[in-house]
């Protein structure tokens, strides 16, 4: 125990050393605490989104700033903060530690590892969770493709680097699978030494689902270039609310250092629900479906951070809102592609959150339960799925071949629903329906089996050119397998290689047609 005189000695010594400005910190008192939110009296100079620390070390973020009342949301240990606790400002805003060491790890919103593999290694820098998106002059049009390895997506709803493409659909329609397959498909880029770093943000999901997903990624070798951020269903609303921002901050680290990154937010409807929870507890006025008025801004500011950065390094170095720690490593030409996921209820895309996010993103992939049960997987509804900017980013031969595929398939769907009424069909309609049916079969793809882009092009070439008209509907898959086997073994150099580089000439077309014809003979009706 300290002696009284010792104390006073320490006091005197310390008093002499006190730098009044620096050492004094601003404090407040907890008035009321409940449901993960503490109402604090005092903290007059606190900034929006500033980290505050309670006397027992628990941290929170100041969300509501009022004259004599500050609403603080608690990230963890909600039950450890009590009334009358002292709260102090920390002067720093909510941030996450980012670095190469995150790759292959599973972390929570705060950046702490939760995969039991020890601390994050290597140099880490602190990046703010919430940061302004790059301005107009720091951007460049989307023109480089991001291959998903999914035939239906790469041909009809292409995604470019820096794009924001929404994946929307009911539960159990394969939304996550599309995102995961896209991540798995980036393995080729990683092997080539031009990686697209992936960040998968799981929001409000079961911890078991996240564990399963991490296993899948690990088995396919995708964890080498992937970070998983998880805020599971049992985490606090604040953790779930900030998880996508943490993902975006990690993505920005790669984007601003001139590299490519892909971030999947799975899913934003759960983040919106977490934000609604927080807003209601903070007693903010509620609007439609009880969401707060700034729910649109929540998603728009998050998704605006996905961008293709200008390739000029000097211009990129002057980017707005660039954190100081990032300045030495800034390079142009990077990109951050976002694949937000939204879950609809009974296919209702006109609900509040789906319409919001549809209008923010550069297109959407709409998945349908009906198609899923018919066996059309990925269950993409071609009619209302769209990519507004990806077309410019497609490889030339893909664009040429698949140009009409989307319209043809949409038309076929309509005609098919008519033909269900029975009656005779004219030969042209019958042909359109037959071709559509076979193309739909051709676009079916098992999960976690992404394809090479050159093979995608070759297969879709057969579909759009009507080379399958003699093939039995049930044998389309066999046809595809055989066709690809022949190409791989006999035409790697003269067809597949040039296709992957974006070249398609008459000679190659002739080879494709010849191989397809031979294959079609084998799988005749």
């Amino acid at each position: 125990m300290m002696k009284a005189n010792e104390i006073s000695d320490i006091l005197e010594m310390q008093l002499k050393e006190v730098d009044v400005r620096r050492d004094f910190e601003e404090v407040g008192t907890v008035m009321e605490v409940g449901d993960g939110v503490a109402h604090v009296f005092g903290l007059e100079g606190v900034q929006a989104n500033e980290l505050v620390e309670f006397e027992n070390g628990v941290r929170g973020i100041a969300m509501n700033l009022e004259e004599s009342n500050v609403g603080v949301i608690l990230m963890t240990a909600e039950d450890r903060v009590k009334e009358n606790f002292r709260v102090k400002r920390t002067g720093s805003i909510a941030s996450i530690k980012v670095g190469e060491g995150l790759l292959g790890r599973v972390i929570n919103t705060l950046g702490d590892p939760i995969d039991g593999a020890g601390p994050i290694q290597g140099d880490l820098i602190q990046l703010p969770l919430d940061r302004k998106a790059p301005g107009v002059i720091y951007r460049q049009p989307v023109k480089e493709p991001l291959q998903t390895g999914i035939k239906a997506v790469d041909s009809m709803i292409p995604i470019g680097r820096g794009q924001r493409e929404l994946i929307i659909g009911d539960r159990q329609t394969g939304k996550t699978t599309i995102a995961v397959d896209t991540i798995i498909n980036q393995r080729k880029n990683f092997d080539k030494g031009d990686p697209v770093y992936c960040i998968y943000v799981a929001i409000g999901q079961k911890a078991s689902s996240v564990a399963m997903l991490v296993n899948i990624l690990r088995e396919r070798g995708a964890m080498d270039y992937t970070v998983v951020v998880s805020a599971s269903a049992s985490d606090s609303a604040a953790m779930r609310y900030y998880a996508p921002f943490a993902g975006a901050a990690i993505g920005e680290y790669f984007r601003d250092s001139g590299r490519h990154a892909l971030v999947v937010y799975d899913d934003l409807s759960k983040q919106a629900v977490a934000y609604r929870e927080i807003s209601l507890i903070l007693r903010r006025p509620s609007g439609r479906e009880a969401y707060p008025g700034d729910i649109f801004y929540l998603h728009s500011r998050l998704l605006e951070r996905a961008a293709r950065i200008i390739s000029n390094d000097e211009v990129a170095a002057t980017m707005n809102d660039l954190p100081d720690v990032l300045k030495p490593m800034v390079k142009g030409g990077g990109s951050l592609t976002a694949l937000p996921v939204i879950e609809t209820q009974a296919g209702d895309v006109s609900a509040y959150i789906p319409t919001n996010v549809i209008s923010i993103t550069d297109g959407q992939i709409f998945l349908e339960t009906g198609l899923f049960h018919e066996g059309i997987r990925p269950a993409i509804n071609v009619g209302i799925s769209v990519s507004r900017v990806g077309g410019n980013a497609q490889l030339k031969p893909m664009k040429k071949i698949a140009g009409t595929l989307k319209i043809d398939q949409a038309q076929y769907r309509e005609l098919e629903s008519f033909s269900k009424f029975g009656g005779d069909m004219d030969p042209v309609t019958a042909m359109v329906i037959d071709k559509g049916r076979k193309n739909a079969r051709l676009l079916i793809q098992p999960q976690h089996a992404p394809m090479l882009v050159e093979e995608e092009i070759a297969v879709i070439y057969c579909g759009t050119k009507g080379l399958l008209k003699d093939v039995a509907l049930a044998r389309v898959a066999e046809f595809e397998k055989f066709f690809l086997d022949v190409l791989r073994s006999h035409h790697r150099e003269d067809v597949l290689m040039p296709l992957s580089k974006g070249v398609l000439d008459d000679k190659m077309s002739a080879v494709l047609e010849k191989v397809a014809e031979d294959a079609a003979q084998r799988f005749k009706e």
Binding site: I10, M31, N69, P285
Partner: protein
């Protein structure tokens, strides 16, 4: 909703009324007493928010929490608060009232928390130090809390200087773990 607004309006009205009635200081003392009791009994807030409790009982509860004769003006105010169903804001109102009173009278509240009782001489030195920092009248409160281990925590208004051993140990711990903000 800006909840501070409610408390601010009630507190300002009470201050003006108390000034008129020339009881501003008594009300200030009463608010301090209420605050201290609310601090030591966190259940009070919950009880005040309980709709099953009759208004008269709530009035008695608040008066008991003040712990002294509240005076005519404050009693009227408490009744108004209960009639308007704003009794749960009493704590915040007491904070805001104290703030308004201190600002109006040029008082600065200084809290000092130590691990042990301080000798008078040490207290004097601290007081002298604080007086050098401000030209305002000073209201001293000294508390003892052994959990800070040693040193002191000095709070002047809403700013605090944490020179406790507990904080130093925590800082060392964080430094060793390589964790900061």
């Amino acid at each position: 909703m800006d909840e501070g607004l409610i408390a601010r309006r009630y507190a300002r009205a009470l201050y003006r009324y108390a000034l008129e009635e020339k009881v501003a200081e008594e009300v200030y003392e009463a608010m301090k007493a209420f605050d201290a009791n609310a601090y030591s009994h966190p259940d009070l807030h919950r009880a005040l928010g309980n709709p099953m409790l009759a208004p008269e009982k709530k009035e008695r509860l608040i008066v008991a929490a003040i712990g002294r004769e509240p005076g005519e003006a404050l009693l009227k105010f408490i009744r108004l608060l209960i009639t308007n169903h704003r009794e749960t804001y009493m704590r915040l109102i007491s904070f805001v009232y104290q703030k308004i009173y201190r600002e109006a009278n040029g008082i600065v509240k200084v809290n000092i928390l130590t691990a042990e009782e301080l000798p008078a001489e040490a207290m004097e030195r601290i007081k002298a130090f604080v007086k050098r920092q401000t030209s305002k009248a000073i209201e001293f409160v000294h508390n003892v809390d052994s959990s800070i281990l040693g040193g002191f925590i000095l709070q002047v208004g809403s700013r605090q200087l944490d020179a406790s051993l507990r904080k130093e140990l925590k800082d060392i711990g964080l430094k060793l773990l390589g964790q900061g903000y």
